[in-house]
């Protein structure tokens, strides 16, 4: 635990009766800022404000997902009243693996039933519930969008994170979709930030026209880096999060993370108010958004079709 990046806002003078939320975060405060903000908003809507009637004990993994189980155990050891596990399936699984009896509220992109986090969406069972953003489910749609952009391409690159628990199912779905779309897939793996450049270099060298990133929180939180590399190697790419086109990437298709973190906040508040997690069904976000960056398209020389622009939820010019 040496140098454990634990940061807590528990300060002196708080009421001893104030409930404590253990917030298990896979990233750093800087990368997670917008998500945390959405979470706090939801928490406030449910009647809880940090420092006033609830304390939050943060554990930051700072991108080292392998440390998540230890951090989760730390939170359990601190006997927090509720564990919030946002930012993806690895976090939820790490929290669940501690075997705590405290309630866990997750926020992820994957299918919590398939990942065996919950028994069913309507009746999660046990002490865990949360929100899924559908990002994993829509991986084939990203392939479809890339196929629309590059109708003549015969091969497309797919980048997956082998350490992600959702990677096998996503690849499986993508393969099925590729057959329907009559395109070949070339799979690349990246689980560390320093591997990104080599992936892009390999794609550029091997020749697939476009890059489709699987849904993965590790990729999502490094959208800026991915956007820079995509433009550097002049490759059309699509990821799950709007951060990517906002940072200069081409486009993104995935669940609205603001909505999912917001709802996770509401659920956390409701549980603090005494509701049982088994009574709170797992929520799926209602909004799956397509964000396109026209500037990037122009730079890459691959203009979007009118249909794609018409269906885009946000167009960056």
């Amino acid at each position: 635990m040496a140098g454990a990046a634990t940061w807590t806002t528990v300060s002196y003078g708080q009421k001893p009766s104030m409930p404590v939320i253990g917030y298990l975060c896979p990233e750093s405060p800087e990368l997670f800022g917008s998500r945390l903000e959405a979470f706090r908003q939801g928490l406030e809507e449910a009647g809880f404000v940090e420092g006033r009637n609830v304390a939050i004990d943060f554990q930051w993994a700072n991108g080292q997902y392998s440390r998540l189980p230890a951090l989760a155990a730390e939170l359990v050891a601190r006997n927090v009243d509720l564990i919030v596990a946002p930012g993806g399936a690895p976090v939820a699984l790490a929290a669940k693996a501690t075997g705590t009896t405290k309630t866990i509220v997750f926020e992820m992109g994957g299918d919590p039933v398939q990942l065996r986090v919950v028994d069913s969406l309507s009746r999660p069972g046990g002490n865990i519930t949360g929100v899924s953003s559908l990002s994993v489910d829509v991986s084939p749609k990203r392939l479809e969008l890339m196929r629309d952009l590059l109708p003549t391409a015969t091969r497309l690159a797919v980048v997956a994170n082998p350490t992600s628990p959702t990677a096998p199912s996503q690849l499986q779905k993508l393969q099925a979709a590729a057959e329907a779309l009559r395109v070949q897939l070339q799979i690349y793996s990246a689980s560390k930030e320093d591997e990104f450049e080599s992936v892009f270099a390999a794609v550029a060298r091997d020749g697939p026209g476009g890059v489709v990133f699987t849904s993965d929180p590790y990729f999502a939180f490094r959208s800026r880096r991915l956007a820079a590399l995509a433009m550097k190697y002049q490759l059309p790419a699509i990821t799950q999060t709007r951060d990517f086109p906002v940072a200069g990437g081409l486009m993104s298709y995935g669940g609205d993370f603001m909505q999912s973190h917001h709802r996770a906040g509401i659920y956390a508040g409701r549980i603090l108010s005494g509701e049982k997690p088994s009574d709170l069904p797992v929520q799926l976000v209602t909004k799956v958004e397509l964000v396109v960056n026209l500037k990037a398209a122009k730079l890459l020389g691959h203009p979007f079709s009118a249909a794609v622009i018409a269906g885009a939820d946000e167009v960056i010019e």
Binding site: L121, L284, T286
Partner: protein, 587 residues
């Protein structure tokens, strides 16, 4: 104590009567008002809840209608054999416009799938799958717009399939999957009063929209929908709102309205405590007003009863005091009504009683020296002016015992007093019998006046008879005394003439007396009379001459008179005391 009790009873009666007279109409009025207020409020609540449910149903209808009207744009143009890229653009645009639509299927006039657009799954273009048997298409062709039953995506999210056919077969049809979770935005914005809410049930009574999204996401779960269905069933088809219990067991007022199209029911509920709050507050207000007015009635009744009984109490006390003899007591009542008149009567009566008492006292005094009959006469006349000083003809009678001084010096005091007692008793009877006026007595001597203050007929004759009777009675006593060894005699002197008569003395010590030489003469005659002797002066003798045996005793030297005075005597033995009554009557 008893009058006090009676007073208290009267006060209580008045208090009760007045209180009841004020409080019962008030209470009656209050109850009537409360009842009508309750009815009005209920009617208002009913109207209001119906309005709320209708407006909630309209909002849900707008949600559905917004989707169907947008879908309608996709079934305007007839299909050609080639695929039109614009249809895809339109479909994608629609997906962006209507976030609740999860997927769209466009079918041509032959029922072949031409385009499928999804948010999650892969799109399909020109798959040409035959969907002509799809119930959505069949339904849409039959009714232009068709709604499926609600299904639950992955057992959680409520989904609705909508089929819309164009106005002619060539334009085909569209089938859309709608995620009803998005009604949440609509349903959660519906506020019924302060804490009331709305929810939506489908045809079979499953919950498809509720402000608490987690209830909806439980899918087709029976236990979740049951309490909501119970509320809907409680309303039934009857007019007006119903009261029921929600899932938490709280009582609610509920009203329902149908949503045309998908055949849903929107139910608005408001906690009964809030719905009835105006009724409760109206009832509470009425109760408070009743309580206050009852209190006022009580105070008023108390004040009035007090006002009515206070004069009675004063009268009672006054009459008691007057009855106890305080005739100078006056009852002070200034109510300006019958009580004041009554008090004045009492006061008048008291003053009259005081006068009567004074009179009584005066009479009592008179009786001391007047014969009882005379005293009564004066009493009846109500006037004692007869006692005023004047000069009149009187007959003065003196009598005393001979040898009494010597006897009293030698005898025991009780013997002396016994003798005197017998003596005066005997004389008193005679004086009363002849209605003479006893002036005074001292020791064994006695002075009696006839013809004053009340004049009598034949005063001289009466005085003679009085003297004779005295002598007869006293001599009888003397005979007894002698047997006991007491040697005393008894003599009488009478004189007639003018004298000044009237009251003398001071305050309560008033006496009636006569002043003049006739008194002296009578006293002297008495002094010179021997035992058994009655000496009279010439005037008396003249007055009775021929009617009583008067004996001239010749001139006698009388002390205090310069010349010898002719004195007459009456031998009382010659007169039989019995068989002769009074010869005169009192005028």
């Amino acid at each position: 104590m008893i009058p006090q009790d009676r007073f208290r009873g009267l006060f209580h009666k008045y208090l009760l009567a007045l209180f009841v007279a004020v409080a019962i109409p008030l209470a009656f009025n209050g109850v009537i008002e409360a009842w009508f207020g309750y009815r009005d409020q209920r009617a208002r609540l009913d109207q209001w809840l119906s309005l709320q449910s209708a407006s909630a149903a309209a909002e849900i209808h707008d949600f559905i209608h917004g989707i169907t009207s947008q879908l309608g744009w996709l079934v305007q143009l007839p299909w050609s054999d080639e695929f039109d890229e614009r249809r895809r653009t339109d479909a994608l645009r629609l997906l962006r416009q209507a976030p609740a639509i999860v997927s769209l299927t466009l079918l041509d006039g032959n029922g072949l799938e031409r385009l499928y657009i999804s948010r999650i799954g892969l799109n399909r273009i020109e798959s040409r799958t035959d969907r002509s048997a799809d119930p959505a298409l069949v339904g849409a062709r039959a009714a232009q717009i068709w709604f499926s039953d609600v299904s639950y995506n992955r057992g959680s999210e409520p989904y609705l399939t909508v089929g819309i056919a164009g106005n002619r077969p060539a334009v085909g049809a569209v089938i859309a999957e709608v995620n009803l979770k998005l009604i949440w935005d609509v349903i959660s914005a519906i506020k019924v009063g302060r804490t009331g809410s709305a929810f939506v049930l489908d045809r079979s009574g499953r919950l498809i929209a509720h402000p608490d999204i987690s209830l909806v996401l439980r899918g087709a779960e029976e236990a979740t929908s049951k309490p909501f269905r119970a509320v809907r069933d409680a309303i039934g088809s009857k007019a007006g709102f119903a009261t029921s219990r929600d899932a938490q067991g709280h009582y609610v007022a509920a009203s329902a309205a149908p949503v045309q199209g998908p055949d849903w029911t929107v139910v608005v509920v408001q906690p009964l405590s809030e719905a009835y709050a105006p009724i409760y507050s109206a009832l509470w207000r009425t109760a408070m007003l009743l309580a206050i007015s009852t209190m006022l009635a009580g105070i008023l009744a108390y004040a009035l009863a007090h006002r009515m009984t206070e004069p009675i109490k004063l009268l009672e006390e006054g009459t008691e005091r007057i009855g106890a003899g305080s005739f100078d007591h006056r009852i002070s009542i200034h109510t300006g009504d019958e009580f004041q008149r009554l008090a004045n009567s009492f006061n008048r009566m008291a003053s009259e009683l005081a006068l009567a008492q004074q009179h009584q006292e005066r009479i009592a005094k008179l009786k001391r020296f007047l014969a009882p009959q005379v005293a009564d006469l004066v009493d009846r006349a109500g006037d004692d002016s007869v006692l005023d000083g004047r000069r009149t003809e009187v007959v003065v009678v003196f009598c005393d015992l001979r040898g009494f001084t010597a006897f009293s010096a030698g005898a025991a005091p009780e013997d002396v007093m016994s003798v005197l007692s017998e003596y005066y008793e005997s004389l008193g009877r005679v004086i009363a019998k002849f209605e003479a006026t006893l002036i005074n007595f001292s020791g064994d001597g006695l002075m009696v006046l006839v013809n004053a203050p009340v004049p009598v007929e034949e005063p001289a004759l009466r005085a003679i008879d009085l003297a004779v009777d005295m002598q007869t009675n006293v001599q009888a006593l003397i005979a007894g005394w002698r047997s006991r060894g007491y040697h005393v005699g008894f003599g009488i002197g009478l004189a007639s003439g003018p004298a000044t008569v009237g009251r003398i003395g001071y305050e309560d010590r008033l006496d009636y007396t006569a002043i003049g030489s006739v008194v002296n003469l009578a006293a002297r005659l008495c002094a010179s009379a021997a035992d058994k002797e009655i000496l009279i002066d010439a005037k008396v003798a003249a007055d009775v001459k021929g009617r009583r045996p008067v004996e001239d005793l010749g001139g006698r030297e009388i002390k205090g008179f310069d010349e010898a005075i002719p004195v007459f005597g009456i031998s009382f033995d010659a007169l039989s005391p019995s068989g002769r009554g009074m010869s005169g009557t009192i005028r």
